[in-house]
């Protein structure tokens, strides 16, 4: 059976997709869909960068710089965002697939396809957040899909506030979907698979919270 990569179907019709992918002998349209994902990612990150999302720590330079310098520096930051738009899917799709390939017995190509489907969902979340941030005058710590807001009322630590703001409804959805796919593909214990997935996401949240916590500008 030949499996045709269809990302939206992977999210909306998980049972069918899982069945088809499980019995797949060959895969088509992988390259095209991969390129498409990279392209989308680039666009979404560039749009976020255009609005200056995530540049709070740089904004204070506005008082020291001339208008031209400020805008020129912002263009560099936007370039950085676009680079992230390429790095981010690479890590999420290939590196994560590698991790799950090591801890499970699933073929690498199938893991890549699952990661691609999940990355589509990541992009949906990011896209939704852009207008929310701009229109509601909020930053990533006040992501209304996350636990970040409540944590601001409870916690004092900036690091943990960043961490909780990474934990969103979408992340839960992604974990659930990933578990849904991987538990059928793997021969291993379902709980072990779930543990691996949760550990992976916990690690990414900690890393992202850490990146938000350290101010890169201070070190370089």
């Amino acid at each position: 059976m030949v499996y045709q990569v269809r990302l939206l179907k992977g999210i909306l019709e998980p049972y069918r997709s899982r069945y088809q992918l499980q019995n797949a002998e060959a895969v088509t349209k992988l390259g095209v869909k991969l390129l498409f994902l990279y392209f989308l990612s680039l666009i979404v990150f560039a749009i976020g960068g255009y609005f200056g999302i995530g540049s709070e720590s740089f904004s204070k330079e506005i008082t020291k710089m001339s208008v031209n310098e400020f805008e020129a520096a912002k263009l560099l930051i936007l370039s950085g965002n676009i680079i992230t738009g390429i790095i981010d899917p690479s890590i999420y799709i290939f590196l994560a697939a590698l991790f799950f390939w090591i801890v499970t017995d699933i073929p690498y190509i199938k893991l890549v396809i699952v990661q691609m489907i999940l990355f589509g969902l990541q992009l949906v979340e990011k896209t939704l957040l852009i207008p929310l941030f701009v229109l509601m005058d909020i930053g990533s710590d006040a992501n209304p899909f996350s636990l970040g807001i409540i944590s601001q009322y409870v916690l004092r630590s900036d690091y943990f506030i960043h961490l909780f703001s990474e934990i969103t409804i979408f992340q839960f959805l992604i974990i659930a979907l990933q578990y849904f796919y991987l538990k059928e593909f793997s021969e291993r214990n379902n709980y072990l698979v779930l543990l691996m997935i949760v550990l992976f996401y916990l690690a990414t949240w900690f890393v992202k919270a850490f990146l938000a916590y350290i101010q890169v500008g201070v070190f370089v």
Binding site: N68, E69, G139, L211
Partner: protein
């Protein structure tokens, strides 16, 4: 639990979380940190703010003199200028004679005639005396005396000795000579008077008091018989009631017309404090004013009377004061602006307002020159919010990158790659 229940439970949980989150963000005194999306921002500039009145005016001569003529007492002779002639101060305008002088002349002439008649009488009398004196010496017996002479002599010829008579006649002749001399002096005096009157009445001329152009000559001799307008041009217009509150004599004006490229400069010379037409409730009352044009080479002389000009009256001007666009100033009890601070926050700053004109607002007290001010924030954001700004691509210049060190370039790129 079946699949449907799971989906429902997750959905409800999600909706509850989102609702709670939005409530926590938007409630008053929210603890949630905000990041304001600042679309437009500006720096406080050192600027000149000029408050003006924009109005229209028309070019007219500065002044108009009218010359009056009394036809009852004077006789008009002729005009010495034509309409449109340009004249200087002292130029003759017209000639006339006065009827009073004519009467005086006639009197003097009569007096002169009378005096001359008297002289003739005296001379005749002296002649008679002389002939009597002659006959008396040659033949005293035959001497007959004129009766008129005898009366004057006051002596009795029949009784008096001839010597007495002789001396009497001598005396009388001296007296008469004296009389004649005095009469001659009188005639001379009258002649002098007459000739002086003659001189005056031949050409009494009215002259102009100032430079100008003859605007109008009234050939029917109705007053004013001549109107003269000055060559200096002024601008006339009128102010509305609102503009009157701001306008003052001495304010600088700038005028531009479609004909001349060069703008005219000047000052307000006169403002009427009474409206042009009777004050009325129904109409907008207009107060006329006149602005004097500063002479500036030949340009001003070429001004055509009646040209329409657009007039800018500078009512207030402040140079080198901190200013922000008026859209950046917000009102909620007190005027305030949102300043972007060095620490990366949006902070509310109360200001004391100064002059407001041309879309600019002077700041007397508040942020100083160079401070970054947020334009048009949509929401009254929480104090100490972070802010982000979109890129303005048109302000990015390739040359600017030469100013950055490579360390800085790497730093900004890394900021974009790593920071969330």
């Amino acid at each position: 639990m079946s699949g449907k229940w799971k989906i429902a439970a997750v959905s409800i949980a999600s909706i509850v979380l989102i609702t709670v989150n939005i409530y926590l963000i938007e409630k008053k005194e929210s603890k949630v940190e905000r990041t304001v999306f600042v679309e437009n921002w500006t720096k406080v500039k050192k600027d000149t703010i000029t408050d003006t009145i924009q109005t229209k005016g028309v070019i007219k001569p500065v002044e108009e003199y009218d010359i009056y003529f009394d036809t009852k007492k004077n006789d008009f002779k002729k005009f010495l200028v034509k309409e449109g002639d340009s004249i200087t101060a002292g130029s003759s305008l017209f000639e006339y004679t006065t009827t009073e002088l004519d009467a005086l002349k006639a009197n003097l002439e009569a007096e002169k005639t009378a005096a001359e008649g008297e002289i003739a009488g005296v001379e005749e009398y002296i002649g008679k005396l002389r002939s009597y004196q002659g006959t008396l010496t040659s033949d005293p017996e035959k001497a007959s005396i004129d009766e008129s002479v005898e009366k004057n002599l006051n002596i009795d010829i029949t009784t008096g000795s001839s010597d007495l008579i002789k001396s009497n006649i001598e005396q009388e002749m001296y007296k008469q000579e004296l009389e004649k001399n005095s009469l001659n002096e009188k005639v001379k005096m009258l002649d002098a008077k007459l000739s002086s009157i003659e001189e005056q009445s031949s050409a009494i001329v009215t002259t102009s008091e100032a430079d100008g152009v003859v605007k109008n000559i009234n050939k029917n001799l109705n007053n004013p018989i001549i109107s003269i307008v000055s060559t200096n041009m002024a601008i006339e217009g009128d102010f509305s009631e609102e503009e009157m509150k701001k306008a003052e004599v001495g304010m600088t004006i700038k005028a531009s017309s479609s004909d001349s490229k060069k703008a005219l400069k000047g000052t307000i010379g006169r403002i009427h404090s009474y409206p042009a037409e009777e004050p009325s409730l129904k109409k907008d009352n207009r107060f006329p004013f006149q602005a004097l044009i500063e002479p500036e080479g030949e340009e001003t002389e070429l001004l055509l009377v009646g040209s329409k000009v657009n007039l800018t009256v500078i009512t207030n001007e402040k140079a080198g004061v901190p200013s922000v666009p008026i859209e950046a100033v917000h009102y909620q009890k007190q005027p305030h602006v949102y300043k972007l601070t060095k620490k990366g926050y949006v902070d509310k700053h109360y200001i004391t307002k100064g002059l407001k004109a041309e879309g600019k607002q002077e700041i007397i007290k508040g942020p100083s020159v160079g401070d970054v001010i947020l334009m048009e924030p949509n929401v009254a954001v929480k104090n100490h919010s972070y802010f982000i700004t979109p890129i303005q691509f048109e302000k990015v210049k390739a040359a600017t990158y030469k100013k950055f060190t490579s360390r800085e370039k790497v730093r900004y790129l890394l900021l974009g790659i790593l920071e969330k």
